[in-house]
Amino acid sequence: MDFSEEQLMRYSRHIILPEVGGKGQKKISNAKVLMIGAGGLGCPVGYYLAAAGVGTIGIVDNDEVELSNLQRQIAHSMNTLGVNKADSAKKTFEALNTDVNVIAIKERINSENILDLMKDYDIVVDGTDNFPTRYLINDACVMLNKPLVSGAILRFEGQVTTIIPGQGHCYRCLFEEPPPAGLVPSCQEAGVLGVLPGVIGALQATEVLKLIIGKGKPLMNQLLIYDALGVDFRKVKVPKNRDCPVCGENPTITNLTDLPEEYCSI
């Protein structure tokens, strides 16, 4: 499929970049990205991916838009209060770019449906708000060999990492276990600066686009830590753990299971 005049115009600032060009823009148009969560992180990630012309964007979210979301979840609005978040985001992204096929998946992700939901996508984006789902998404991506761009936010701090199964580390190589319940405040209690998911989400969208066009170095075997108060970006090394229970030499996790508790951080 060739680009129309209008598409050439729309994507001209991409196409003019030697690292993207018409070829890279084609790859973007053919890419299929699954976003899990259409909240603080999912909104900016999806917004930029839709603007970039990513061909298919799946959005998994089972929640409805609430007034307290609008402080940061920029794909939703007063017009979609009470609407399912995947539907609300789909509306926004399609208004921005009709080239993009946005698929709203109004389900809660779990060990039963995750493999099926992921299987047709090239890249997965984690924008969820709890540890059990983060570990589940990681394990599923390792099992299906899907690149995963993971982002997390709390108060004034964010973390980003890019997981490429078979090549680099996974989330369990980084943090072996989720914290036990009770030791951590729930996300609702914790609070978050509204613009923080914008910063972290934009970094995740950047990682996704780099993976699609195959340029630059992904945040593989690294964790990027952003501290908004100290204006500090730090990268630390994340080696692949040979003893990792899911991607190591002798994996002990070979089936997906749901962890019950939900918590945010220490």
Binding site: D129, A152, E157, F175, P178, C187, A190, V236, S265
Partner: protein, 91 residues
């Protein structure tokens, strides 16, 4: 000179809001205990019975101590230590 330690946001209320503190050179676990003397409660949040908790990582400069000598990893004056807990918020 001392060891500089970056405190993550969730633990900064134990350090009176300070994002960076100083501790004594030595092993990681002695550093954690030294910090706990200055900021009571810190050790318990990141370690248990002298072992680092599995959802908190400590980096010496950019290196994860789990891939060095873990709690026994030596840190020297001028090293930059980062305490990095897993965080999960996205919404």
């Amino acid at each position: 000179m001392a060891v500089k330690v970056k405190i993550p946001v969730p633990l900064q209320r134990l350090t009176q809001g300070k994002e960076e503190v100083e501790g004594a050179a030595g092993t990681i676990i002695s550093l954690v205990n030294d910090l706990d003397q200055q900021y009571p409660g810190l050790a318990e949040r990141i370690s248990e019975n002298g072992k680092l908790r599995r959802f908190v990582n400590i980096y010496v400069n950019e290196e994860d101590v789990r891939f060095m000598k873990n709690e026994e990893t030596e840190v020297k004056d001028g090293d930059e230590i980062s305490i990095v807990p897993a965080i999960a918020g996205g919404m």
